[in-house]
């Protein structure tokens, strides 16, 4: 993607398009990857509440996994999971 020029950028660095953070894929910052152990999960969605990004995928109130394009691997979901259903694994292993 070619980068915007001085003339194209909104002055003041304002973001005038709501939700544009979806376009910025922060997943490549990650050094640890969350892995869901589905059999332990009770779908309490504590992970969804705590995720500082928007990286917990859900469907019909059920935990479905992670949005790896945006998950930075902070591990907050794993730390807060009451059932230890999320484990963090080093990337590249």
């Amino acid at each position: 993607m070619s980068k915007m020029t001085v003339k194209e950028l909104v002055p003041g660095g304002m973001m005038i398009e709501p939700g544009s953070a979806m376009k910025f894929e922060t997943g490549d910052w990650r050094s640890f990857r969350p892995i869901l152990e589905r059999e332990k999960c009770i779908d309490c969605l504590t992970c969804w509440i705590f995720c500082p990004d928007d990286s917990i995928l859900t469907k019909d109130g059920k935990m479905e996994g992670f949005r790896y394009t945006h998950c930075k691997g902070c591990g907050i979901c794993a730390r807060n999971c009451p059932k230890d259903a999320i484990r963090m694994e080093p990337e590249g292993e």
Binding site: K3, M4, T5, V6, L9, V10, P11, G12, G13, M14, M15, I16, P18
Partner: protein
């Protein structure tokens, strides 16, 4: 109408006539009268302004940035240590392109503790992306307050503006001044409109974003262009203001310079004293003149080039010293004439620090030193060595 009024009250009066949406401020000598008078107008219901009394200047500027981002015409005032305390937010105001206008009652920076005039406060903020205007007298302090709004809010500029006046010398001295009709002032400043308001919930925006290696430089360059645009806008606003008031201002005001061989460059209230020195020396047959700087940012480099080329010698008067270097204006004036064929000798006079009185006799001495070839490159006017 002609009235007797001090500089601070004149600014409060201009604000009353403008009736800005928000004023967020913290009092500090010698700016205090501005916010005191203006808070009276708010309390008495003479303006509709929301007056936010903050716990510090840092917070004052933060409130100003928020309210201006929301679309409110926003004013504030400070001086010296107060401006130093809000310094971090000054660059944020310009970087976020919010056209706040701020009156600055120029006072030195401690230590030693001193409440009197020099330009160390404003000159230390010269790189923060604010348009900088200066006043010679109370009338100009009032006029600058009104013009500042039109300059900063112009769609091609969108920069915050500081309008400076010398602490105590102008802030507390009562001078005769001609006021404008309130209706005319309101017409002149017009309505503040912005393209993207922080409070427009139908079109949500994010303000104050992070901007890394790939975009920061481009956003800074937009400020470079805005400052360049400000030059034309300032001229336009000066023209319109002349049509309204009969007072025609210039970015650089040249006084008896036509055939002058020896010229000084001066900012603020000292310009008045300098004109008297010029008049007296002209009487004695010396070809002298002075240039008063009304606009320091954007720096009118082309105008300096035009006005200084061909002079024998130029003395740049700095009421501030960039310690370890020279007066800041000296450097910039030098760079404005460095590439002309007939470039004058330029010397620097640092003067009036901490409010040191600057009598006509001292300023005449500056000219006589130039004429008699007694100047050093950097001189300290009247300091006891």
């Amino acid at each position: 109408m002609n009235i007797g009024i001090n500089g601070d009250s004149a600014i409060a009066l201009a604000w009353k006539q403008i009736d800005p949406d928000v004023c967020a401020a913290y009092p500090i000598t010698p700016q205090t009268i501005i916010v005191e008078r203006f808070s009276d107008f708010v309390a008495d219901g003479e303006v509709d302004t929301e007056f936010v009394t903050t716990e510090s200047e840092h917070s004052a500027m933060t409130v100003c940035i928020g309210s201006a981002s929301a679309g409110a015409r926003t004013v504030t005032a400070t001086a010296s240590a107060g401006m130093a305390y809000m310094w971090e937010m000054l660059g944020i105001a310009s970087g976020m392109r919010v056209p706040i206008t701020m009156a600055v009652a120029n006072r030195t920076l401690s230590a030693p503790l001193n409440i009197h005039c020099d330009h160390s406060d404003v000159m230390s903020t010269r790189d923060t992306g604010w348009v900088l205007l200066f006043a010679e007298n109370v009338q100009e302090a009032y006029d600058n307050t009104i013009m500042a709004m039109r300059i900063g809010e112009h769609k091609d500029v969108r920069l915050p503006v500081m309008h400076n006046l010398d602490g105590f010398i102008l802030t507390h001295a009562i001078e005769r001044m001609t006021t404008l009709d309130t209706h005319d002032v309101k017409d002149f400043v017009g309505k503040y409109t912005i393209d993207h308001s922080l409070l427009d919930i139908k079109n949500p925006i994010t303000h104050g974003v992070m901007d890394l290696q790939d975009y920061f430089f481009e956003h800074k360059y937009q400020l470079v262009e805005a400052m360049e645009n400000a030059k034309g806008v300032i001229e336009e606003v000066f023209e319109d203001f002349a049509a309204l008031s009969g007072r025609k201002y210039e970015m650089l005001e040249s006084y008896r310079c036509d055939d002058a061989e020896y010229v000084t460059v001066v900012i603020g209230s000292t310009a008045g004293t300098m004109k008297e020195a010029v008049d007296q020396l002209r009487e004695e047959g010396h070809k002298v003149g002075c240039i008063k700087v009304r606009v320091f940012r954007p720096f009118p480099i082309e105008k300096f080039k035009e006005l200084l080329t061909g002079r024998k010698m130029v003395a740049v008067m700095d009421r501030h010293i960039s310690l370890g270097s020279t007066g800041p204006m000296f450097n910039e004036v030098c760079s404005s004439v460095i590439d002309v064929d007939d470039s004058p000798d330029v010397v620097n006079y640092v003067y009036g620090l901490g409010g040191r009185d600057v009598p006509v006799s001292d300023l005449k001495e500056v000219y006589m030193n130039m004429i008699e070839g007694k100047c050093k490159k950097v001189n300290f006017l009247g300091v006891r060595l």
